[in-house]
Amino acid sequence: MTTHTGPHPTRRLILQGATCVALIGLGSLPFAPARAAANDKYPDEAFKLKNEADAIKALYGRTAEPSDKIKLDAPEIAENGGVVPISVATTLDKVTSISFFVAENPNALAASYKFPDGTIPAVANRLKMAKTSNVTAIVEADGKLYSATKEVKVTVGGCGG
């Protein structure tokens, strides 16, 4: 088909027009903070905040409730605050993300992980800790937020200076 007859280009134009209108409609929807966690963009703002509660709010747009279904594994005492092995696993269902916060660090949010369907809700990583602090893991499961907290004593700080 190399030749176009009358009605087709017109119809295509109208369809294109309709798509544009639909996209504009989506674009003007208010972006709730919760969307920031759900979409794919790097959460720059949340990483810049000093305070843990502010960072959780910036990342998820709501607060968490403590849960005993989260197992947060961190040392009682970290001799080197530059490398603190921390892991978390949970038996909660429909986990979509897990984030780590170190309350006393210059910026509270340390790392945030996304869990697509089929990925086991557990992660191990190594974080820097400036000084003795509470470490909090936030688990987003079925649209709700749950937390577990543990204090880690740091003998040599890991944020330099």
Partner: protein, 103 residues
Amino acid sequence: MASSIRVRATSNGDLTEVQTLIQHPMDTGLVKDAKGELIPAHYIQELRFAWNGKDVFVANWGTAVSKDPYVKFSFKGAQKGDELKISWTDNKGASDETTAKIA
């Protein structure tokens, strides 16, 4: 140049365990060098693992992740011999990627 990414992905039945070690300074921007000048922040912001063209794990990192970061996770569905694509980008726009075969 050798890849900055080292990966071990091992399949055990339906489950694949992935361990990754990346060479990266992960500078916080708070540390001074020998001359007393601040070393600018330089850190990986995003690390992605894709299997069959689909993300299976995405990490968003700040400066509090340790130097030469390590991360471990597991996912379901892959077979031995499948390929896992790993890629990262940092705050200066640098990036690297590699492909690992699931053993």
